[in-house]
């Protein structure tokens, strides 16, 4: 089993119920294909540093999972077709650390966004 980190950027005009459906959809795909999710993080709505498909903001979701190469293949296949997903990134990691979350504090994010505007 390999360890992976997967991040998603979804469109900003999603309602709360739609985001839950979207997350559950990808959870199911991972679970069906011999994968196992260890942690999911929601980084929330963030400003993109440049426009992607004419979008200025996006919802960020982060999965930490164990699985095989096949699971990642299946994941990316469906994400390529999905209209609601702007971009994704999977990275193979040697060890998953579940403790650190760089996007946990909302106050820090606001400070960062302010600095970007300046």
């Amino acid at each position: 089993m390999n360890c992976y980190e997967h991040t998603l950027i979804a469109k900003q005009d999603l309602s709360e119920t739609q985001t839950k459906i979207l997350i559950n959809k990808y959870h199911d795909i991972i679970n069906k294909n011999q994968g196992k999710i260890l942690k999911t993080e929601e980084w929330g709505l963030r400003n993109l540093s440049y426009e992607i498909k004419k979008n200025k903001k996006g919802f960020y979701f982060h999965f930490k999972l164990e699985g095989l190469g096949k699971t990642i293949e299946e994941l990316e296949k469906t994400e390529n077709i999905d209209d609601m997903v702007l971009r994704f990134l999977t990275i193979r990691v040697k060890k998953i650390d579940l403790k650190t979350n760089y996007f946990e504090n909302k106050e820090d994010q606001k400070i960062l966004e302010k600095n970007e505007k300046k």
């Binding site: 950027i9 540093s49 982060h62 760089y102 960062l112």
Partner: protein, 90 residues
């Protein structure tokens, strides 16, 4: 024998130039790598605050001769920055 006589003459010449480029400077002006110390922060594409220190104003990667990051860590940094760029974090 003639050659032996010439050599010491050359050494005198080297003493003459005290401020040559090849001399070791008395003052230390090289910093050690800030990322390979003890308790150094982990280079990761999610750690935007750390990555922003190593970007110029126009968001280009700073060369290691300015930041004095070691080669190994510079490679890690550049990879992390490129990952963060593709996710539109930076």
């Amino acid at each position: 024998m003639k050659r032996n006589k010439k050599r010491p003459l050359k050494k005198k010449g080297s003493k003459f130039s005290k401020l040559s480029l090849f001399q070791k400077p008395s003052i230390k002006f090289f910093r050690s790598c800030p990322l390979s110390e003890k308790n150094a922060p982990v280079v990761d594409y999610k750690n935007i605050r750390l990555l922003k220190k190593y970007l110029s104003e126009s968001k280009r990667i700073l060369p290691s001769r300015i930041t004095s990051v070691s080669l190994k860590k510079q490679k890690e940094l550049s990879r992390a920055i490129k990952r963060a760029r593709s996710l539109a974090l930076i």
